[in-house]
């Protein structure tokens, strides 16, 4: 925390309680499991499955997040070794391999491995995987079948192309697909738990979830201001509230409202996230180097403000769902909006890259970015696949340059802060250059 003391970034006070939610989640999981409450391991299903589990009183644990935790605590190498030994190719997702190794150890010992960070993840009764965005999500959970006798439910999510999404009837059959999927899932859960869904509870939970995301969306809208009032570091610290909703959602809604007030106050009073002049406004993709976040403080000292980041961790643009009475349809429409909300604009712009590239073109303009910092990860295809495309689109359409700094999610040594800083220094020149180019081409904000 020594970096914090120097105050290179003005952290939001309201971020801390949101960040604490994550720690509480791990503690809560363990306690709940001791109290005999069932646990499901979930892949980030992006708003689809988690509320349903909550409504059925099932605790959710997020192995993907736990991968980051293990990496940060230095516990990952032992788990990775174990999964390598079990024959899983090493080029695959580090979080997945971490989880496979962890699970193998847990099943060998018959209990949570001693020394597991944050108390470990309790044994699940269900694996809720997702067909969304990432192949590792469902293949990883399928592979866990080797150790766990828990059933795997793969939650479907349509991922249409921009043009295909506009074929007549496509919108509705995609929604219909999601609703049918969710319904089948509820039926399955009812059988698994031998109890009935409490639809009223679900209804309320979904409204809370939607409201929480609306506030969260509004907070991020405020970041378009110059100087930007909130740094990506604060975003990353508080995003877990919406991605891994834990505890009472009403509490989270309240925390986000407080955050909104603080950010609003800053905007009204022209207070930026940097104590010094904001020289460069940056866009960040995708997962940050969790272990080297101090790197962002070093950049902050040079006047780099990170004003917006990965669209997939951002909430959808709000749409009116009050007239949709079926709660499952409400989640479906909410989630589909998150995926395809920008498709009409993408279509008009002729950007077939869809959700993987187009949101960044909008962000870069709306948040007036000077450059993008891309962080390809050796073992996370999903966070890497589209980066070259984004780099190319940003340059072609908006003359915004990108700096590429390699790293990994578990092999923390791959990110070299010294080298990264050397590149960053050079990149300032590149950003200056393109500022001029944009001005010449009438693109400058």
């Amino acid at each position: 925390m020594t970096n914090e003391k120097k105050r290179t970034i003005n952290r939001l006070k309201t971020m801390y309680p949101l960040r604490a939610l994550l720690d509480e989640m791990y503690k809560g999981n363990i306690e709940a499991s001791k109290a005999g409450k069932p646990t499901a391991w979930c892949m980030v299903t992006f708003w689809e499955g988690d509320v349903i589990l909550k409504a059925m009183d099932v605790e959710s644990v997020y192995p993907e997040n736990y991968g980051a935790v293990c990496a940060a605590f230095g516990a990952a190498p032992a788990y990775l070794d174990r999964s390598d030994a079990d024959g899983f190719p090493t080029h695959m997702c580090g979080y997945a391999r971490n989880c496979l190794g962890y699970t193998a150890r847990m099943m060998d010992l018959g209990e949570i491995p001693p020394g597991a960070p944050m108390g470990g993840m309790p044994k699940p009764i269900l694996l809720l995987s997702s067909g969304s965005l990432c192949d590792a999500h469902y293949k990883w959970f399928q592979a866990l079948g080797r150790y766990l006798d828990a059933p795997v439910w793969t939650m479907e999510l349509p991922l249409p192309g921009v043009k295909e999404s506009r074929i007549e009837g496509a919108y509705e059959h995609n929604i219909g697909f999601m609703v049918a999927e969710l319904r089948e899932f509820v039926t399955f859960l009812e059988r698994l738990l031998s109890k009935k869904m409490d639809w009223d509870k679900l209804d309320e939970l979904i409204d809370d979830m939607i409201e929480m995301n609306r506030v969260w969306y509004e907070i991020n809208e405020l970041r378009k201001a110059r100087p930007c009032p909130m740094h990506s570091r604060d975003f990353w610290s508080s995003m877990s509230g919406s991605l891994y909703p834990s505890g009472d959602l009403k509490v989270s809604v309240d925390l986000y409202r407080k955050m909104y007030d603080e950010v609003k106050y800053r905007v009204d009073n022209n207070i930026g996230a940097l104590p010094i002049e904001e020289k460069y406004r940056l866009l960040f993709l995708e997962l940050p180097p969790w272990h080297s976040l101090g790197f962002f403080n070093q950049l902050a000292e040079r006047g780099w403000n990170f004003v917006v980041e990965s669209w997939s961790y951002h909430p959808p643009q709000p749409i009116d769902l009050t007239k949709v009475s079926d709660p499952l349809e409400r989640i479906a429409r909410f989630t589909y909006q998150w995926l395809t909300g920008r498709f009409p604009d993408a279509f008009n712009a002729g950007e077939w890259g869809g959700y993987s590239a187009y949101p960044y073109l909008e962000y870069a303009q709306d948040y007036q970015c000077d450059g993008a910092l891309l962080h390809p990860l050796v073992t996370c295809r999903t966070a890497t696949n589209h980066l070259m495309l984004v780099q190319d689109r940003l340059m072609k359409k908006l003359k915004i340059p990108s700096l590429v700094v390699e790293g990994d999610i578990v092999d923390l040594k791959l990110f070299d802060p010294v080298d990264a800083l050397r590149k960053a220094e050079t990149f300032e020149e590149t950003m200056n250059h393109y500022k001029k180019v944009r001005r010449q081409e009438g693109l400058e904000w």
Binding site: A143, D149, E156, P160, E181, M388
Partner: protein
């Protein structure tokens, strides 16, 4: 008059100059549609008189252009295919159909559409499970596909024509199975290398032409006298193999590849399409449920609240046991291109299954590059030494 070569000689010709024939057809006014992987529904193309042409990469050509829009840590097969596209080698295609096979396949679809902008392009967002809802969705997606095809060709896709196309493709599948039966004797009548060349040729021709060629090949192979020698019999499983280099290397080390579970082989051709009242039902079912590629998630008994690992393996992989028995296999080569998550996660499970039925196996990971195959030689050779 130039005599058309026949049978395997013609296969070799096509293999070495894949696009020659479709370019002729194109010059004669036909439209050629490229497709990736095994999920685009070919019958719908055939029914509209479009010539399906499978898009492959090239293991012999260094990837230079694709790196500007795909990172190097993804499947080199897809990178290579896109690279060829960006180099203009697929410019003769009138359209391209891609499906959501894997994530990088999906991303590449959009990149292809954006950068190569073919006159026709369609992406089928094939579901990831075989849930009832997914099957229904798949049919809806095929209807979407139908709409864009009709718009492109200006013709209507009639159920009658679709049924004829299904029959023609089923015919091809039956012939391929017949050819594969000729690999059952010891020694097999046709080598793995030749078989792959036949498969590649079929994927480069209109279906009826392919059927004719297949009949010639089968007759020729049946009449062989001085064929192959008895050697260790292998099955090969895994990600795409569209070039004979790997197979040739393995067979050159003293083995006969007698069976495969890859998508330029049995995985593509074995399941038939059932002729249902609405032909789209049979197609939607076959292409989602019957195709056995690890990109589709399946569990032992769908919706079952209990799980049993071995039963799960058995329901997913028992066809491999059948193959091994019928083709009298001594060992299995599991192979995957590097960075293929779909196959990577599957490997330990397939291995567990093969162990459980007492079939030795080895896993090879390669870079989809002919030059980089050399280090695998020793591994394969040692494996052969161990199992024989």
């Amino acid at each position: 008059m130039v005599m058309e070569s026949q049978g395997l000689a013609r296969v070799r010709e096509i293999y070495h100059d894949r696009s020659h024939r479709v370019k002729q057809l194109k010059a004669a006014g036909e439209k050629v549609i490229g497709y990736f992987c095994v999920y685009p529904v070919l019958e719908m193309l055939t029914a509209l008189n479009l010539v399906p042409y499978r898009v492959f990469g090239d293991m012999r050509e260094p990837i230079t252009k694709a790196d500007s829009c795909l990172p190097t840590v993804v499947c080199p097969f897809i990178r290579s295919a896109l690279d060829l596209g960006l180099k203009g080698k697929y410019d003769f295609l009138d359209g391209v159909v891609m499906a959501h096979v894997c994530e990088v396949g999906e991303k590449t679809a959009h990149i292809w559409n954006l950068y190569l902008n073919p006159p026709y392009f369609h992406f089928i967002d094939t579901p990831h499970t075989v849930h009832k809802a997914a099957q229904k969705q798949h049919k809806e997606l095929l209807k979407d596909f139908e709409k864009t095809l009709e718009l492109f060709t200006g013709k209507e896709l009639s159920p009658g024509r679709l049924r004829e196309a299904i029959e023609a493709h089923n015919q091809q599948r039956a012939l391929v199975r017949e050819l594969y039966n000729l690999r059952k004797p010891d020694p097999p009548l046709i080598s793995g290398t030749e078989t792959l060349q036949v498969m590649v040729a079929l994927m480069s021709l209109p279906v009826e032409e392919g059927n004719k060629l297949l009949r010639q090949v089968i007759n020729e192979v049946k009449g062989r006298k001085d064929g192959l020698q008895k050697k260790t019999r292998l099955l090969i499983w895994g990600s795409i193999i569209d070039d004979v280099a790997l197979i040739e290397m393995i067979e050159g080390l003293g083995a006969n590849l007698v069976m495969d579970d890859t998508c330029v082989g049995s995985r593509f051709y074995f399941p038939d399409v059932e002729l249902t009242d609405d032909p789209l039902d049979g197609l939607a079912y076959r292409y989602l449920v019957e195709l056995k590629c690890p990109r589709t998630f399946r569990e032992a008994v769908f919706g079952e609240t209990k799980k049993d690992y071995m039963a799960d393996l058995d329901s997913r992989f028992s066809y491999l046991k059948e193959y091994a028995r019928e083709w009298n296999v001594n060992g299995v080569i599991l192979q995957s291109v590097r960075y293929c998550d779909i196959h990577g996660y599957e490997v330990p499970q397939v291995k567990d299954y093969l162990d459980s039925i007492g079939l030795p196996s080895i896993y090879l990971e390669h870079d989809y590059s002919e030059a980089a195959l050399a280090p695998l030689r020793t591994r394969v050779q040692a494996f052969l030494e161990v199992i024989s």
